[in-house]
Symmetry: C2
Subunit: 375 residues, 2 copies
């Protein structure tokens, strides 16, 4: 999407063919800085310090990280070191492992001489596939926004509410929850987005507000407490959020606080949509209550980062010394509160039986293939 | 309640009989500072800059402010100036007007010579009545906490969740929502409090955490997004919040975000209690949806105050330049989500018919009396 009028992706191969550029997201919204990765160590550090974040972007970063590693040494042992270095950078990220395994599958079958070039091709393919998926999610979601607009008699902008950042910054381009909004905006449908600030890490107030603003989409930042009031007063036509993991049964694990907005949406008859690529569905779990929830550092609650009036970005303490804090990162929104899942294949009220069946078969086939390969 | 082991009220007459002390709440939780008011101007400034806040405490402050004014000049014209000065300090605070009218009723009937001493007596009475009311709310609420404890077989602490600050800092002592918690704690019932940080002004993370910590009550600060997750996982036995205004029908206007917690409580069969003095019931309104909601400065959303690692308290910016923000201060929780209202007269599922009738009659009598007096 656009930054200062110029289209960007979150990660790209530079013209020199031997280095990769990314946006350093740790400095947003206060500073827009592009950093260059020349080595696999640069990529691993960028994943570790969260210069890049969001499952799809982490996968793409790992792909390019492998490619940078293969440039220096394409041997089998070097590959193994590169794999381990990148995997250790963010071991809980499912997409990281997925991307690394995909690189391994392709590369280890090739002669070392061919590996670097092939790695850049596969990394590019991972990026392009992600863009296609997000774009498709965007199109299916745009249709829902357009319908909401028609329901107002095209008389006023459609008011959407989103939580956290499931925008293009979390993917390679378009985003998931924000893709429908960008597609609608680009198609001339008037939209206005309520942006939950999303404590404790404030990805809404910092990343979502920043990317919507740069693309020119009208938006207003609100505290996480405000969405219920807005829905009670008819100021939200629909909610769209992303998902970190969705169960085969349709329960949605997403940023903490998503569940509260889903409850308010239900209480006020506001449609509540979840946008996600099928790759984020966990076909092995039906009931969302069995998803383990990460408990992150209490410091994220006790402290907050912001910009002083002198322009310095720093952390300040919010809580009294001696007060404990607790920081669960996600919650689970049960399926009955979700109006529809917006995927690259369309919007579904529940995940179709057929899709579940096909996916399970594909997974078993994958496992068989990996087993053969591992021998 | 206690600060560093020593019992305090939020406002008190000093031993010299001619000055009043208050806790400067703008510096909490980072600094505990007592300031002395020697003049009505000091009191007005303290109300204006929110060194004192919370309806009951504002009322008590106005009472003592009048007394300080009468010390200097007890004449009728001076009284009028004092009234106007204090009223202008926070004109939307209902309790401010109520306390000033009460002072006027008593003082203007007296000889000017007698007014200063009488004013201190009435101000003290306003304080003592508030303490009695809060203490009674605390006792009725303690019984509910004790019942919850018994329901666990007295096997573990009772987990409570509260939003914003309806503690002793908002009143003269005890508080409203926190009074039952202090009473339970002092009675040896093991309690643990989840403290919503309560964006945007963070009264939970700063004031509630501070006062619970100083009294020794176990507590944990959480972001406003987390309560739903905790209730889904059986980690909240009951919620207690305060109320800025409750309608005769039982709808509760309280800090923004209260409604979301009430929805989560209902969805997880967690009792949701509202603690309030009867004086905060608006007998003229039945439907909470007709309460006008204050929209405060967007700067409260865009900026936040905290303490740097150098120990300096400062404001930092959270949102991108150019992103709008909106800041509704309150929301309304409909009566069907409230398990009971805990008042100084007991806990009620709905406000008893008889109480409504008596109160309406009393109000009309009051009006007649004021009319007579105004003539």
């Amino acid at each position: 999407m656009k930054v200062d009028g110029k289209p960007y992706r979150t990660i790209w191969l530079n013209g020199n063919g031997i280095s990769v550029s990314v946006i350093d997201q740790t400095l947003l919204p206060h500073r827009f800085k592009i950093v260059e990765w020349r080595t696999v160590e640069d990529a691993a550090e960028g994943i570790r310090n969260m210069a890049v974040r969001g499952a799809p972007l982490i996968g793409a970063s790992a792909g390019y990280g492998v490619a940078l590693g293969m440039l220096r040494d394409p041997g089998d042992e070097a590959f193994q070191r590169v794999y381990e270095l990148l995997f250790a950078a963010r071991p809980t990220a499912v997409n990281l492992r997925w991307a690394l395994d995909r690189m391994r599958e392709t590369l280890l079958m090739l002669h070392p001489k061919e590996r670097a070039a092939a790695a850049f091709r596969v990394a590019k393919k991972i990026c392009d596939e992600d863009v296609l998926n997000c774009s498709a999610i965007g199109e299916h979601g745009r249709a829902l926004i357009e319908r909401a607009w028609n329901e107002t008699g095209r008389a006023r902008p459609v008011n959407l509410l989103t939580h956290c950042n499931a925008g293009w910054l979390a993917t390679v381009d378009w985003g998931t929850a924000l893709a429908p909004i960008y597609k609608a905006f680009d198609a001339g449908i008037p939209v206005h987005v309520w942006v939950d600030e999303t404590r404790p890490r404030n990805q809404g107030a910092s990343l979502t507000a920043w990317e919507l603003g740069h693309h020119g989409v009208p938006h207003t930042v609100i505290v996480d407490n405000a969405g219920g009031y807005l829905m009670q007063h008819g100021q939200v036509d629909l909610c769209i959020v992303g998902s970190d993991r969705t169960t085969a049964g349709g329960d949605v694990c997403n940023k903490i606080g998503t569940y509260l907005k889903a409850l308010a949406a239900r209480d006020n008859q506001v449609p509540f949509y979840v946008a996600l690529p099928l790759s984020s569905i966990d076909w092995t779990i039906d009931d969302g209550r069995s998803i383990p929830i990460e408990s992150r550092s209490p410091q994220e609650v006790a402290m907050i980062s912001g910009r002083t009036k002198e322009g310095v970005v720093c952390e300040v303490r919010l809580t009294p010394d001696g007060s404990a804090a607790l920081n669960y990162a996600f919650d689970v929104t049960p399926r009955h509160l979700v109006t529809a899942l917006i995927t690259e294949y369309g919007a579904f009220r529940t995940i179709p039986e057929e899709m579940t069946k096909l996916r399970r078969e594909a997974e078993q086939a994958d496992k068989r293939q990996v087993n053969v390969f591992d021998r």
